[in-house]
């Protein structure tokens, strides 16, 4: 199973490169599309779903929408593999947990994912590391065109692309950026940012890890409106606000340093210390501590660590990743022990101790 090749890497959105990647984890765009000659998923019979899946699977392959696409039959994947793809942000939780014929095509670089039979017949997603919305839009626009040469999408002159939920009608487009905002959280300014974003119709969500725990000060900002604006203006709307938030976050970081460099350094070092020595640790605590460490690295407080390493730890300590890396299914208690072991191994490499792996 080629899925295993993905396990050792960390995926596009955690590559830790691209513009502003100390604060912007990833830029993501998705387009919702439906076949014109089939009912939406809620009214699709099993046989409809199977035909939709076949039609779109064929179209995606024929269109060679992206080089080196690998198509996975999600219905046939083991639960652990589905969860792995969710953690990797290549499929949605809903897609992993629903039933019936459905699939996903993923490119080798993990920038492109095409979900078949999610809430809509087709959900095209393009994800770039760092702040890179314009290029992501160019890429997804092209992929959409290529696929549309092989199928007819439900489209109405007045309302645009027709989607299962009216909240997505029109462009069917969701533009989002994933931001790491630890200083705004620490200085309790995040609420203010939320409020100002809501006023301009942008949605903010925390990123969730295992179960429903909020994950390491990551926030996703996206457009709410999909109808009555051009795609470029939606890209611009989200793109324009990001530098403002980046600026807030940087100022909050400077404020923390000015207020008390010692306190901040202490906080970061303690977090690092726990991660390097813990014998058992939950996913939630790991996220929380890694968030401090990540900020510390970006502020030059932890010179022997690098951002890609920290990003890798964020994803590899997630439950499904941990189990895939271990090659075995583990209960919560065992996962917490394995997670601590993994962290120790990867964070103690630099100081002369022998390092496994």
């Amino acid at each position: 199973m080629e899925l295993d090749e993905l396990v050792r890497s960390s995926g596009e959105w955690l590559r830790g490169s691209g513009p502003q990647s100390d604060i912007v984890m990833s830029s993501r765009i998705r387009l919702a599309r439906n076949l014109a000659d089939y009912p939406f998923i809620s009214k699709a019979a099993e046989s409809d779903r199977a035909e939709i899946e076949r039609t779109l699977h064929d179209a995606v392959v024929k269109a060679s929408a992206s080089p080196h696409l690998q198509y996975l039959d999600v219905d046939k994947l083991a639960g652990l593999d589905r969860q792995f793809l969710v953690e990797r942000q290549l499929i949605s939780r809903e897609h992993a947990e629903s039933e019936g014929a459905r699939g996903v095509a993923i490119d080798a670089g993990e920038q492109v994912s095409l979900m078949v039979n999610e809430e809509d017949h087709l959900r095209i997603q393009v994800m770039h590391s760092g702040l890179d919305l314009e290029q992501a839009w160019e890429q997804i626009n092209h992929i959409d065109d290529l696929i549309a040469d092989h199928v007819t999408f439900a489209y109405n002159e007045r309302l645009g692309y027709l989607t299962a939920c009216p909240t997505n009608a029109g462009t069917g487009m969701r533009v989002s950026v994933l931001l790491h905002l630890p200083a705004l959280v620490l200085t309790r300014q995040i609420e203010k940012v939320f409020r100002s974003l809501q006023k301009i119709n942008l949605a903010v969500r925390g990123l969730y890890g295992e179960g429903s725990q909020a994950m390491g000060d990551f926030y996703q900002i996206s457009n709410q409106i999909t109808l009555g604006r051009t795609e470029s203006s939606l890209v611009k709307q989200v793109g324009d606000v990001v530098p403002v938030i980046i600026d807030y976050e940087r100022r909050a970081r400077s404020a923390l340093i000015q207020e008390s460099q010692e306190n901040l350094h202490d906080r970061v070092s303690r977090a690092y210390g726990i991660l390097r020595t813990a014998q058992t640790i939950s996913s939630e605590e790991t996220m929380h501590l890694l968030s401090s460490v990540r900020m510390g690295v970006n502020l030059g407080l932890l010179p022997d660590l690098e951002i890609p390493t920290v990003n890798k730890l964020f994803i590899h300590t997630q439950p499904a990743h941990l189990q895939k890396l271990n090659g075995a299914e583990l209960g919560t208690a065992d996962r917490n022990i394995e997670r601590a072991k993994y962290l120790r191994e990867h964070l103690n490499k630099g100081d002369g101790k022998s390092s496994q792996n």
């Binding site: 046989s47 007819t152 309302l159 429903s212």
Partner: protein, 168 residues
């Protein structure tokens, strides 16, 4: 940031479409769990979109009108308006046409617009009528098979084939 329901720190930020406008809820873990696990709603119509819609429809609508509206069904996929209100999901592309009068205020509420100005498929859209006809014919064929009316089912299958050839 404090939880909206108690004094703890809000760590959950949930977008809900209640009252017609997307709304952010800020809750602590405990309240969020409670919120997320509560059944859709006590009166059978779930939160989110359907709630928004119901509220909007209640304005200037008598109970009898609403009941009548709820029974309206899409001739293509068979979804009733009540079903849509409940699930917040439409049944087929034709719903945007047959429920236009009801959906337009909703779209206006969500997007502030009812006219698409973005991209369109490169190929000019194929004949929409025959596309929706295919959805209806497939459904009728399934119904015929379920009723063991195989003669009707095979007629329908031929019709589907013809329509498909027509649209190329």
């Amino acid at each position: 940031m404090k939880c909206q329901k108690c004094e703890k720190t809000a760590t959950f930020h949930i977008t809900e479409l209640t009252g017609g406008k997307p709304q952010e809820l800020h809750l602590c873990e405990e309240c969020a769990r409670e919120y997320l696990t509560q059944p859709d709603s006590s009166d059978g119509t779930p939160a989110s979109l359907a709630g928004a819609l119901a509220q909007q429809l209640a304005v200037g609508q008598t109970a009898a009108d609403l009941a009548r509206l709820d029974q309206q069904a899409c001739p293509v996929c068979g979804i009733t308006f009540f079903e849509f209100r409940n699930k917040g999901r439409l049944g087929c592309p034709h719903d945007y046409v047959c429920f236009e009068k009801e959906l337009d205020p909703l779209l206006l509420n969500i997007h502030g617009e009812t006219r698409h100005v973005g991209k369109h498929p490169r190929r000019s859209a194929a004949d929409t009528d025959s596309q929706t006809q295919l959805i209806r014919l497939r459904r009728e064929m399934k119904e015929a098979i379920a009723a063991e009316d195989y003669e009707r089912a095979s007629e329908l299958r031929d019709e589907i084939r013809q329509v498909k050839e027509g649209t190329g």
